[in-house]
Symmetry: C2
Subunit: 357 residues, 2 copies
Amino acid sequence: MKYKHFVYLPLKRSGEVGKGGVIIYNKLDKESVILPGYPSIKRLVLLSKIRKHFPEGVSVEEKMNGYNVRAVKVGNDVVFVTRGGYLCPYTNSRLKLLYGDSIKEALSELPKGSFIAGEVVGTENPYVRVKYPEAPYFDYFIFDVFVKEDGKYKRMGTKDKYEFLERYSLKSVRLMGVFNAEEAPYKVKEIIDKFDEEGREGVVLKDPQYKRPPAKYTGSYTNIGDIELGMRYPFDEGRDYLFPRIVREMFKVFEEELDNESLKSRYEWLGKAILGPSVESIRKVANGEALYERFVLRFPERSDLEWYLEYTRELGINVKIEDEWIEDGLIVVRAKKFKDSTNVIRSMLETGQTPLD
Amino acid sequence: MKYKHFVYLPLKRSGEVGKGGVIIYNKLDKESVILPGYPSIKRLVLLSKIRKHFPEGVSVEEKMNGYNVRAVKVGNDVVFVTRGGYLCPYTNSRLKLLYGDSIKEALSELPKGSFIAGEVVGTENPYVRVKYPEAPYFDYFIFDVFVKEDGKYKRMGTKDKYEFLERYSLKSVRLMGVFNAEEAPYKVKEIIDKFDEEGREGVVLKDPQYKRPPAKYTGSYTNIGDIELGMRYPFDEGRDYLFPRIVREMFKVFEEELDNESLKSRYEWLGKAILGPSVESIRKVANGEALYERFVLRFPERSDLEWYLEYTRELGINVKIEDEWIEDGLIVVRAKKFKDSTNVIRSMLETGQTPLD
């Protein structure tokens, strides 16, 4: 695929470089890089087991709800790569405007091939739209710096990483604390309960020196909230969202030992997350509407918008621009992304039959 | 595979004879039969569409919750075949004792290769245990008679079928009524609401002359109840049970237009069906227990029990006899069937990690 003066090849198979790896070539500088996929992080479902996984203590970072983007230098330029190994033109144009120079400067300090990884969050993106008080529209919070040494990648330890990012005025995800193994389960429980109240996703647990693999843990707000979001489009995301998140919640409820009243409201919350949005979507389709996500994107240049539209066409995503205007020198568009669930539900409403059994 | 003086080959692929078909050879009589699979019945999720599928009226039969068994003559003997195309020795021994002669007589009246299909229900079986007032232990309710004509199978129409079965003192599933297209959705709704209260599964809708393919519809008691049963063994049945049944319930809720209070209790019911039994199972495994189903089986002869045990070994099902005694001349055993979920949950409790993401 191509984007501006870059040609790139996402590596689908999980091989040496991991899933989501990509080969990128910069035609201007005639330089290329192989960027490995972002390594998948194991998920804990029992807080009591933090001790077992981090016997020497743990640093707890916020896990934000957005989309994972890696940044790497190719020649004299920086590119931003999504989890799947794509150079999304929207993400590239906005991140370049915001942090292009400082990220390039930061990466220049590190060995060639080193890269950073972070979460793009906020409401102005085509992927995951969550409004954070600290990032209502569009921002980038870094959680990992991968330093390439002797052909291998080593994550920077917590302390070095925060100092490094601060030096270049780059934002990082919040460090919620560093705890010893004994106190960690209780401390993380407190954080998760607070996050559940605030509508925040969860945490990533890391060995402060990165001697052990990291682990993630999410709260009910996210386990059940993901189901709620997915079930708006039951035949797109819904089905895949269901079982893994229910399993997380099963173990969370097991560990929490809730009283009857809390248990009852957890049951109702889950049932409502499943049936509420899906029945609402059936109702919409029955009223002749289509199911879609609506979002607002801001592009620095017209060519950025054109690159983005070509990109969605190439990936076969059905995005339709509804409206377009200029604001503060940026091109603003309001767009719709159409969902396949519309057709499945429409056919079920016509025949009254289910395609599943 | 073999059972007594029969050798048989279940046909896994869905071909001419359909999934669950089987070739059976009777070594004594040196005769064989090819029994087709029981045809899958389409499922309706909207009662309002009954009119579309049955414009000339519909006969409504109770769909009972047990397991589907076909009976066919092979030589001078009758065999009973499960949905998958197996000759379960337990099912064969009990059904033969109860109805062997009358079914043989009934099938002798029909062309060779004709067969009947019905539901084995009650608490005394290794598969689906539901206590019906009309069949607390073990019984067989026939719903279809397939007559072979010119190499094809034709279902008997409602009236002929009920007369035919009555003539041989065979039990049939209940005929709930025959309705015209206009009234059918309301009548079926009444039946389903009553079934939901009584804890009954649902209905099968048939064109009285069998000119149109039949359709089934189940109530919330079954949609959500199946989830509740399956989630006791979340990594065995649970996962597969979830999505299709949620989809049925989505459309049921859409069509019902429930008030807020009823909607709230439906949400709670679903959430509880998912989290209740699964958390209870985690608790059991955490206490060192294994997850299993327990059931009681009655065998006419010791050799029947031995055939059954060989059968479970051959199919790789982990059944353990706990206790055995004689009652009214029958051999009674209490058995346990062990579930794979035990191992998955045990490993998750040890590591605190999920294998799913």
